[in-house]
Each structure stands twice: as C-alpha cells, then as structure tokens.
Symmetry: C2
Subunit: 209 residues, 2 copies
C-alpha cells in the first residue's frame, strides 16, 4: 500500500481509529466488521470501509478487519514507529500531567528528559525522570537524539526556549504556551492552545441556546 | 452588525485575533492598522480586513482598528460575556494545571468548584478553591448555575460522570478524558485529546523528513 494515496482528511481521522482499535485490542478483540466498528465509533460503515480499505488488513467479505494489523499499520503511517523521543520543557502542573499521561508510553512515545529553570524543581523526580537545569538543554540535545520537545512554560519564556531548541536541531515542537512560535519551515509545531478551545466551546454553547 | 453573517471559518480564527488583541491591550496599544496586525499575526492584511470588517470597530481609512472595541466585540461573539461559570471534575495534575491557568480568569471564565473522588484530595485547596466530594455534584449543580464542566479524570470514570452532568442539566463539557462522550444533541462537548495532537505532530515530522 502506498502512503501517497492517503488524503489529509483521512490522516486527521486516523488517531481516532487508532484509539478505538487500541480499545479493541485491550478487550481481546482480534477482528471486527465495519458494521460493528461503525456502531462503536458513531460513523457510517461506508465511511469506515472507504477509510480503512486504504490500509488493507481485511480479508474476504464477512471476515472483518484484523484489529492488530490495522492498529500497527496506522501507527506506522502516523510515524509512531520512528518518532518516539520526547523531552519536556517545564516541570509544572501541566508538564507533570503530560508526563503522567500513561497513554503516550503505551503508544511508543517516551519522555526522556525534563527541564526547568526553577532551582526548587531541578533535581526532583517526575515519573522517575530527574528534572534537569534548563541551562544544560543544548548539551543534552548534542548527546541525545530528540524527536519532539514539549513546551509547557509561560509564553514569555517559551519564545527564547523555542529558538534554543531550533538552533540545537529539534524538528518537532509540541507547544502548550499561549503564543505562536516563529520557527523555520522545516520545524513542525503543533499548538495546543487550551483557552482557544475553551472559547470555541463557549461560542457553541451560546449558539446552542 | 448581525452575527448571522459570520462564517464558521471566521469563527475558528477569532480566538487567535482575540489573543493578539489582548496582547496589544496589555502593551497599551489603542489602535492598530491591518498592516501592523498582519505583520504581528503572520496573515495577510487583506485577510484581516475581510475578517474584522464584520465587526466594525474601524474608523476612516488610515485610522486603523480600535483595539479595545474589537476585543470586546469578539468576546461577545464568542459568548464570553455570558458563558462564565466552570466546574472541574478531577483535581489531579491536569485539573490543577487548568485551574492555575490564569488566562482563563483574565478572559472572564471562573472556576467555581472542583470535584474529586479521592478522599486525600477532598477538602484540600486548589487555587483557593476547596476540592469537593464528587458525591455532592448533583446537589451543587442544583444550587449553582454551571455553564461548563471540565473533565480531567480517566476515561473509565469520565463516561458515568458525563452522564451525571447531563442529567443534572449541564450543557457544556470540556473533555480531556481519552474517550468520546455520548451526550444528547443539546449538550456541547469540546474534546482535547492530547495524544491525538501528539500523533498528528508525529505524522508531520515523519513526512517533513
């Protein structure tokens, strides 16, 4: 199967399929029909067939999808067999919450180091990982490959830290700071702007009434 | 100006305008041209004019936009003058991180109560708010109006808690649990599925290389 044929719209839906397939695996389900998956996910069976037939993993009519095979294929498409090593900038509540989020580890992501500038935090442990001094960031990256850096520090500090990450060669930033980061075109930034999500919800509730 | 004329695409962009306008207010800027705003935001001046002219707030050619007026108008469109009262289900790291996020308060959202089922957390304080027993949830909602309930508990517990919230009359759920909630059509759910965001980033990094 060639990845070139997968549209952006399907790519957006894949994490959700992945989540449902993971649940099925946890329940010990080895195969599932598009009809059953449709009922679980609340999308049409036809949509599921259109999306998942790109990945193979289905046998003859009536056999259904092989859950593990599809799960692994989607994981590969999403880069989860290769993009694994995460460092975190910020050991506050949000950083700790993300580090604790066991799901990421199950999915093959590993938080390998945590940095902070607060002397009270440096040297303490978060999920068994010792918090390092942010001053040692470049030194760490020189010695250890990093796929993704998560930023959970206030926006004023986030901008210079992002510059340092980019200069050190990091190509993926998962940004929780409430600011748009200005990075070169070959660096990917995924923003999680929580308050914008809250504003969207507010808008929808207001217009629902 | 009538809200009916504002397209969904503009609505999606408004929280970002709101954020930049807020920054300008903090800096004491009273008015700004579409050109200057364009340079800050990294979008074309023509896009800005098209978007913001829906809201008025601009004078004659060369005057620029009135920052405070636009800020307030966008806030009203997004329902932020009315959707204010938040309760939180879950006083763990993620719940605490969200409660600490001072931005929300600045924007007019108020976290009014926090609930948890953990006896070690009940009675403790998070941001000056005492953590209540989740068993008292219905009683609280009966006595206090609630616009939005934030869910930051594991997915197994999130499903029955969402049912309880809906039965108690809550119409807005900000869901961080890694599960799709099944709610009636008049209840709005905004999902923040962090691991799906991480998967998207992983995909983009992989395809960038």
């Amino acid at each position: 199967m060639s990845e070139q044929h997968i549209s952006g719209a399907i790519i957006k839906r894949l994490p959700r399929y992945y989540r449902y397939l993971e649940e099925l695996l946890t329940e010990g389900v080895e195969r599932i029909s598009s009809q059953e998956l449709s009922e679980r996910m609340g999308v049409t069976a036809s949509q599921i067939r259109q999306d998942l037939n790109h990945f193979g993993g289905f046998g003859q009519q009536g056999y259904g999808y092989k859950v593990l095979y599809l799960y692994e294929e989607i994981g590969k498409i999403m880069g989860m067999d290769r993009i694994k090593r995460i460092i975190m900038i910020g050991a506050g509540n949000l950083g700790q919450a993300i580090a604790n989020y066991a799901n990421y580890r199950k999915r093959g992501f590993f938080i390998e180091a945590i940095f902070d500038k607060d002397p009270d935090k440096i040297g303490t442990e978060v999920q068994g990982i010792i918090v390092r001094d942010i001053e040692t960031l470049e030194e760490y990256i020189k010695l250890n490959p990093v796929d993704i850096a998560t930023i959970t520090i206030p926006k004023e500090q986030a901008v210079p830290v992002a510059d340092r990450l980019v200069k050190a060669g990091v190509k993926g930033i998962w940004n929780y700071a409430h600011v748009d980061l200005d990075v070169p075109a070959d660096v990917c930034v995924e923003n999680v702007h929580l308050s914008e999500s809250l504003m969207s919800l507010s808008y929808r509730i207001k217009n629902q009434k």
